[in-house]
């Protein structure tokens, strides 16, 4: 679908509008962090454990970081990792799923059973194992997110392809004399964008949580890079001693951005369902 | 008293832009014992008209004007509970797709009993009585092995059998008025004729009136006593089927009849397409496609004209209608 169609749908769908606004806001924050953040996020030159106030809007943490600046810088890591991992999964998933969905031969089923087995593992355990195997680092996190998400994209895209290949316009493309590759990528794939987009946004929401969770478990992004999960992990022990701001502000940040992606995902699914009924 | 009298019916569907004026002042009468064919193409308003009579216009649709009198009672003044009591019992509906009209999870017999029970019949006395009436009805729609059909689930029946079951459902409460919307679309020609034979026989036998909504002029010519032709939300010609088929007057009716291929006659290909219901012209909606258009047609609303002694009327500026 075209950008104009997307805009028109967004105007009619409040979930899409609200979610899109949340995501855009966080993307803007990530891009403009150096401009709007009052302090260097890595600087530890402030008095530790100051409560939120006029000099430090969200207070400071145990090491003397400015929490506000770190919350603003964190999406540069969190969004970047989550979006890259999911986009990689999308690309690989589509390349696998389109031929697997289109073929009527035995190997299509074999590939699907493989991914079914893959999906049986608990996500976080799998992520931990992958990080252990590949070594810590942002490349590893992206790879782990991609591996976790490929089966989801394969499933969604294959489902679409299975129904699209029975459609009359695909038969018309065969009758026209199109080679199979062109049928797959010119006629079938463009008609799967809606469900793929919906899956991607939901996957990104989960990926953000996984990135944060890995950091929380100290196998994700290494300090001093600002990252929400890391910050929550640092601050949660202080919750009991009264310094709530260290963990709560990054926590709220995660909630809003995840909510944004979920809203967009639901909104897309709803519009797709309506569109399909016509 | 006239069984059904629709007067000045208007229905609009509001959207984000201009409302779609689906029905623009329809007058329609149906007497007991007659089958009126409501003919039109897609977007002509024939289905919306029939749904209005059944009280089934839903948001964003709205009846904006007119009255729908069933034996003198205006259905538009009734509450939802009163309407529900009338639907099925006094006015019943045979929809286009029998598959959609039958509950896939219930046996045919059970569905028929449910209709009886939900309209307060049967009560405590009479499982046996209910059973007897369903068997009687299913036989009346020409199903030769009624016991088997009543025990069947809808998917176990062929398309023709399923449509017979739908007709049985529609007739079991002996309604005064039956509305059938394209009841044979999707059925094979040999089955179509059987279903329509049966439908008209049932309607006549029970002394009901019927509205048969269709795009098929062949069906109207063979099964209807009267015809009403709709175009862009208005009836443009109505009269006894015999009179209208022998000498159609409205240029649209003439064009429609000549659009059906008949060997040895040149096929008439009506130019253009139906107008946008959001921006209807002030005059005749058919003017842009009309072969006999006059200067005043586009701007001045056409008057009703009567064909002497025939109860045959048409909506046109041409005094005698289109030349043949």
């Amino acid at each position: 679908m075209t950008a104009r169609q997307l805009l028109r749908t967004a105007r009619r769908n409040s979930e899409l509008t609200a979610g899109g606004a949340l995501i855009l806001a966080w993307v803007a924050v990530a891009l403009l962090a150096p401009v709007i953040a009052p302090h260097d996020p890595a600087s530890t030159s402030f008095a530790a454990l100051q409560a939120p106030g006029s000099s430090h809007l969200f207070g400071t943490d145990r090491l003397g970081h400015d929490v506000f600046s770190r919350v603003l810088y964190a999406p540069r890591a969190d969004l970047y990792l989550a979006v890259s991992g999911v986009l990689l999964a999308l690309l690989v998933g589509v390349l696998i799923a389109v031929p697997v969905g289109f073929t009527r031969r035995w190997w299509g089923d074999v590939v699907m059973r493989f991914f079914d087995g893959f999906q049986a593992f608990p996500v976080l355990i799998m992520a931990l194992a992958l990080v252990q195997a590949l070594g810590q680092g942002s490349g590893t996190i992206i790879a782990a997110l991609a591996i976790l998400n490929v089966p989801l994209f394969v499933r969604v895209v294959r489902g679409q392809v299975l129904s699209l290949r029975e459609r009359r316009f695909v038969e018309a493309a065969v009758a026209a004399g199109n080679p199979t590759r062109r049928i797959l990528f010119r006629h079938i794939l463009p008609n799967t964008t809606f469900p793929i987009l919906a899956q991607a946004t939901i996957s990104i929401a989960y990926a953000i949580i996984i990135v944060a969770a890995l950091s929380f478990l100290s196998v994700g992004i290494k300090p001093p890079t600002a990252e929400w999960g890391q910050m929550i992990s640092d601050g949660y022990q202080n919750l009991t001693t009264g310094q709530w701001w260290i963990a709560i502000f990054p926590g709220l940040a995660v909630v809003t951005v995840v909510l944004g992606f979920h809203l967009v995902g639901d909104g897309l699914q709803r519009t797709f369902a309506i569109q399909r009924r016509h | 008293m006239t069984l059904l009298e629709v007067k000045g019916l208007r229905v609009e569907f509001s959207g984000r832009e201009e409302p779609v004026r689906a029905v623009n002042g329809v007058d329609l009468e149906i007497e007991r014992g007659e089958i009126v064919g409501l003919v039109g193409e897609s977007g002509s308003g024939k289905t919306v008209t029939s749904l209005s009579i059944l009280g089934l216009i839903r948001q964003p649709g709205r009846i904006t004007a007119g009255s729908i009198l069933l034996d003198g009672t205006d259905l538009r003044t009734l509450g939802p509970e009163q309407l529900r009591a009338i639907r099925g019992a006094r006015v019943s509906y045979v929809p286009q797709s029998p598959r959609g009209a039958l509950n896939p999870l219930l046996r045919i017999g059970k569905q028929m009993e449910n209709i009886l029970v939900s309209h307060g019949e049967g009560g405590r006395q009479a499982t046996a009585e209910l059973r007897r009436r369903t068997v009687e009805m299913i036989e009346a729609v020409g199903i030769s092995d009624p016991q088997r059909a009543l025990r069947a689930y809808p998917h176990e029946l062929s398309g023709g059998m399923a449509q017979r079951a739908v007709i049985a459902n529609a007739m079991i409460l002996r309604p005064d008025l039956v509305i059938a919307d394209e009841p044979t679309t999707g059925l094979d020609v040999t089955v179509q004729a059987q279903i329509l034979d049966l439908f008209s026989e049932r309607v006549r036998e029970q002394g009901a009136g019927a509205l048969l909504v269709t795009h098929d002029l062949g069906i109207v010519a063979n099964y209807c006593t009267r015809i009403a032709v709709m175009y862009a939300g208005r009836i443009v010609e109505t009269g006894p089927a015999r009179a209208v088929f022998q000498r159609p007057r409205h240029p649209y009716t003439v064009g429609l009849l000549r659009s059906v291929p008949v060997l040895g006659q040149p096929l008439f290909s009506m130019p253009g397409q139906a107008p946008d219901l959001r921006a209807l012209p002030s005059g005749c909606a058919f003017a842009a496609r009309c072969a006999n258009v006059l200067p005043e047609c586009a701007a001045v609303p056409p008057p009703w004209r009567e064909v002497a002694r025939e109860a045959h009327r048409f909506l046109c500026h041409l005094e005698d209608g289109a030349p043949l």
Binding site: A176, G177 | T190, G218, Q246, L257, P261, M270, Q273, A274
Partner: protein
């Protein structure tokens, strides 16, 4: 005139649990240059599968399809794709058959892109404009997407793309059935006009006898996967020799209040296409069946004139046995 298409022994069985659906059984016919053959039958008669097998949109189980002498069923993938330039199809549901994500221009252009790679972009654009004009669409329609067009316009796009590569033969699969009555006539006239101007041959598949009668010189009637009667349209419609053709014609409702045809009532249900009876498939519903009918499948044989053939043991007696159907 010379033979363009020769179908011989065409058979298609779809495997299902515990057997196979006999969709098409031993169908043979020819179509000459510039001729249209009507293929009529009810749902499940196999007429649509026959059309698809000829184009190899469905792989036939047995039989040959010779197009200008060359056996289409024996072509490899690459040759088959190239051969599609000469044999095209127009589908029943115009909207369903157009890719919703492509513009009208792209849809029509694709056929040129595939089969005339030597054309420049500008040449293709000029040809697309010419094609749209041939089907009475304006050039600005080229920028639209299928959902922005009316049903009739969508079918014009389907036709424009089918004739883009100058094919000799089109399968028309119920091309007017899903359209409004007044639009049907427009599309039918367009198809007949194109046939005259371009010398096309049609296999015109339809359940609507009036449409076939109006547009085809010859007609074949199918019942449960087999051709039961074939011949010049006029002869078949005036004096059908197969009881099923007669029943079909008598069920035709003409827009004529004086139509007085005693309808032939067919009793019973159509047999299952999985377990076909050993004899004539129509025998179970036939009002004039005799004992011999259920023993062997009657062969399609010449019964009247030069060209009218019917698969009925009693074909010669049929006019006397059954009421005359309505005037042709």
């Amino acid at each position: 005139m010379s033979v363009l298409l020769e179908v011989a022994g065409l058979t298609k069985r779809f495997p299902v649990r515990g057997g196979a659906v006999h969709a098409v059984s031993d169908v043979s016919f020819t179509i000459e240059e510039g001729e249209s053959l009507g293929l009529v039958g009810e749902s499940g008669s196999g007429k649509t599968t026959t059309g698809r097998c000829i184009l190899r949109l469905v792989e036939p189980t047995a039989g040959t399809v010779r197009f200008r002498g060359r056996d289409i069923t024996a072509l490899g993938r690459r040759d088959l794709r190239a051969a599609r330039a000469d044999m095209q199809v127009v589908f029943q549901e115009p909207y369903e058959s157009l890719n919703p994500r492509m513009t009208v221009h792209q849809i029509v252009e694709e056929h040129l892109l595939l089969h005339r790679p030597e054309l420049s972009k500008a040449d293709r654009a000029a040809q697309v404009a010419e094609l749209l004009d041939k089907v009475s669409l304006r050039s600005e329609h080229g920028r639209r997407r299928p959902h922005e067009l009316s049903g009739g316009q969508q079918q014009r796009v389907g036709i424009a793309r089918a004739i883009a590569t100058d094919p000799a033969f089109l399968v028309l699969d119920e091309p007017t059935s899903s359209l409004d009555v007044s639009v049907r006539a427009q599309i039918l006239e367009l198809l007949l006009g194109l046939q005259r101007d371009l010398g096309l041959s049609y296999l015109f598949i339809s359940h609507d006898l009036s449409t076939i009668q109006y547009s085809c010189t010859r007609v074949a009637v199918m019942y449960l996967g087999r051709i039961v009667e074939v011949g010049p349209t006029r002869e078949v419609f005036e004096e059908p020799r197969h009881p099923y053709t007669r029943a079909l014609l008598s069920a035709l409702l003409r827009p004529d209040v004086d139509q007085s045809v005693s309808r032939i009532q067919l009793e019973g249900e159509i047999p299952s296409a999985i377990t076909l009876p050993p004899g004539c498939a129509f025998a179970s519903r036939c009002p004039v069946a005799i004992g011999a009918c259920v023993e062997a499948v009657p062969e399609l044989r010449r019964v009247a004139g030069d060209a009218q053939r019917a698969a009925c043991l009693r074909a010669e007696e049929i006019p006397a046995l059954m009421a005359t159907p309505g005037p042709g």
